[in-house]
Amino acid sequence: MLGNSILLAFREIRRNVLRSFLTILGIVIGVAAVIIMVTIGGGATVQVSQQISNLGSNLLMVTPGKRLGPGQTSETVPFKMSDVDAITRDVSSIAAVAPVSSRSLQAVAGNSNWSTTVTGTENSYFKVTKRSIRSGRTFSESELRSGSAVCILGDTVRRKLFGNQDPLGEKIRLEKLSCKVIGLMEPKGQSTMGTDQDDLVVIPLRTLQRRVTGSTNIGLIQVSVRDGASTEKVQMEIGQLMRERRHLAPEEDDNFNVMDMKEITKMLTGTTQLLTALLSAVAAVSLLVGGIGIMNIMLVSVTERTHEIGIRLAIGALEREVLMQFLVEAVVLSSFGGLLGIVLALAGSVWLSGLLRVPFVFNAGIVMIAFLFSAAVGVIFGYFPALKAARLDPIVALRHE
């Protein structure tokens, strides 16, 4: 009997190809939107994790401020250079410690200018962030100590300011500070959330503090743990050291943060996942709207085909057969919409992931869920019109033209 209902449904859909297509468009778009959102979101999450693991699992970030939630901090007590020295001196199993302070500035060279991030740090920065110098050199001891006007360029800045010329030995201006280019960094490419990791200028920390920000605060301390040593242990040691240095009573919470890559991953992917969930929810609403579209067209269809239903009932169709026919028709319509949506979504995801440079991660779960949901939409929104059809009085229905 189900087979017959499906046969009748297909015949009916074939009789009204254009209308059937327009009816399922809502479902197609809804399903496609949900799948694309989840797939791209999943890809972005994977990318974030990948890039963070590229940085190395032995990296710790020490930031000032209480932890409130993903990405949120409260009022901060900033770090000073003495904190960096204390970590270097007192914490064991450390490979390198880098103080990092950054500021967004306009970099100018000749006629070109480019807005970029200027990072004040020390040579340990290159080790901690696994950056290498392509040409030129790192800072000398005396340049670091005296806060000399020298800088090392990221590849994007080099390209924007100098094009094909060799920048080594040239001068660039960062606000009022004119500094000499002494080195170029190896490009690292795009990162997490699509930011360009090569869009930066590195200068000695002291230079930034004295001649740009005018404060001795340090925004962030990056620590890389020695290979083979326990990250958790180092994390704990830094935590204890910082509590002592900040004179925190035992009942007080930390007013700083020591995050390892796992936590950073969690924080960043948490944001991505939240965004994905939000966008998917919006997309799911369009599925619901698609369902209402199906109900509407099924109701129209029942009214329009009252005469036909009369014929079927007169010929000897049972109430439940007419019910099944219309229900199956709605489900076939909506499932077909679901299938089309899936095809569209896969094509769209592959295309979009290429465009956004996010890996394409096929998520079989969401494809299944989206399909089942679209079929369920057919059942739910098709039932009422189908019942209406099945309850028709054949005599009245036959008279209806």
Binding site: M1, N4, L7, L8, R11, R15, H307, E308, G310, I311, R312, L313, A314, I315, G316, A317, L318, E319, R320, E321, P394, I395, L398
Partner: protein
């Protein structure tokens, strides 16, 4: 379903049908007694409002009497559920209507296959039987066309093919020639006569036209909800 043989095909006993309630109540049938046996060819005549259509609806198990009983092969149809009545229609009755009542935009073949689909007959057999029914009504080679592409007479032939494809015991025809010109009407009547004679299908036909009624072997005249005259005629065999 229990064995329905050995009983007269149709027996109406004091069948009354009232539409509406109270002041607005209309008595469409007032105690109709009637017996129709297998193999008869009956024409039902009468002016509008005489109750003949109501009687046909009851005979076709589409409606039930308000009072009295309608026995189809001994089964009291008035006591049956809607579903059981649908099953009776499906297994024993074929319908032909004045307005043909074919599914639009659906080929003649698919229209004729329709009752077989509800009977759960396999696709191959369905097609074969539908083609045979179309051949019987003289539409061999026209099965791919839709009702819109066929003339009125041909549409009525498709409708007859659909009615007989299940091999029914009784064919109920409600003014089958009402929408056709005289020549087409004669063809349809000849076809019905043939079906009655060769296939032994009982035919009950409502008609306005005395010309068409002469094809039947028995003519029942309705007037004001009762049977006014029940005459045997020769038919045109």
């Amino acid at each position: 379903m229990k064995d329905l043989s050995g009983q007269p095909l149709i027996v109406l006993k004091g069948v009354t049908k009232i539409f509406g309630e109270g002041q607005a109540a209309v008595e469409a049938l007032r105690g109709v007694d009637l017996r129709i046996d297998t193999g008869e060819f009956v024409a039902v005549m009468g002016p509008s409002g005489s109750g003949k259509s109501t009687c046909m609806n009851i005979l076709g198990c589409l409606d039930t009497p308000t009072a009295g009983s309608f026995l189809f092969k001994g089964v009291d149809v008035g006591q049956l559920s809607r579903n059981s009545r649908a099953l009776l229609r499906r297994h024993y009755q074929g319908f032909v209507f004045q307005g043909f009542n074919l599914l639009n935009r659906t080929s003649a073949l698919e229209n004729v296959e329709l009752p077989l689909i509800y009977r759960g007959i396999s696709a191959a057999q369905r097609k074969e039987r539908a083609l045979r029914a179309l051949e019987t009504v003289g539409l061999k080679g026209w099965e791919r066309l839709t009702p819109g592409e066929l003339s009125g007479g041909m549409q009525q032939r498709v409708a007859i093919a659909r009615a007989i494809v299940t091999g029914p015991t009784v064919l109920l025809a409600d003014e089958p020639t009402g929408n056709l010109d005289t020549a087409r009407s004669r063809e349809i009547m000849d076809l019905l006569t043939l079906l009655n004679r060769d296939s032994g299908i009982t035919i009950i036909m409502v008609t306005h036209e005395p010309d068409m009624a002469t094809y039947a072997k028995r003519i029942i005249h309705f007037l004001d909800g009762t049977v006014a005259l029940d005459e045997k005629t020769g038919g045109k065999n």
